[in-house]
Symmetry: D2
Subunit: 96 residues, 4 copies
């Protein structure tokens, strides 16, 4: 089924990473509630941010490998539209 | 009490933002489970990343306003140590 | 010629942006030599960083549109290798 | 002289790093002119971006150690204004 979203293959891997990020964010709430030293909280915020970025890269890899590559093989204006859309998403990641 | 962690003042604001990030990360899990289009998932990952960065900036502001400024007023080697520690945390944020 | 580097199309645009970044970096040297206020220098460093990121996105767009899309059309192990290579480059951009 | 810009101490170090970034950006122009493979150009763009970030962190460290710390010691509304200004600059760095 070439219309299935590209990340289906790694759906379990993506969900498990997101579950882990959720755990990190709940851990951050406990740290703040317990008056943990700021710098230690900031270190954990950076770790959660990097974990989210790695989720994004995993999603992007699947998207390029499936949706964008499929569109490239079919060619035509849709191939270009898919590429522009992917570049816009990469741009948001680079700037966030 | 000048030894209280710097973020105490805005503790409620920090906790409320972290709660919101937790909601965004749970929303991301639903999107992936529901086979939402990759690019839309990526847009939400970027939003959650930016929300975490704004938590970091809020924590950092309180830390500079309290811990680092208090140490600067007392002077001596501790002032320099606090500054180095803050710069290392900022460096991790800039690179994450 | 499908072996020509992908960015050839926008070579002039890329070169003109890099020339502009070079000008920004020389401007930064003048600002520092002239003891310009730190915060104003930092604002210009952020502008130069964003300009470099936009060069990277332009290069990446051409690379995906040409090298990666060509490899996807040919298929086989090279398509996967090109994709992994592009993802590694995107990962370095997201983390820098 | 407490009015001298904070980065005066490390002015030579900042200038030498900026000179090096300028060299990297000129090297990028040569790479593009010579049709160097895109991915290799992107690797060098990431290196130049990280070099600019390290200049920013050096400037920020001096600024916090001098301007912001001096203002903290004097206290009053100026201390808060200097802190807000620094946080805004850090925010631009984190987001660029």
């Amino acid at each position: 089924m070439d219309h299935a979203p590209g990340y289906t293959t790694d759906k379990a891997a993506v969900l498990s990473r997101l579950k882990r990020v959720e755990g990190q964010v709940r851990g951050l709430q406990r740290m703040v509630s317990d008056d943990t030293y700021c710098i230690d909280v900031l270190t954990q915020v950076s770790a959660a941010t990097r974990a989210l970025e790695s989720v994004a890269l995993l999603l992007l890899e699947d998207h390029l490998a499936h949706c964008v590559a499929d569109a490239a093989r079919r060619g035509g204006p849709e191939a270009d539209a898919k590429l522009q859309e992917a570049i816009a998403a990469i741009s948001r990641l680079v700037k966030s």
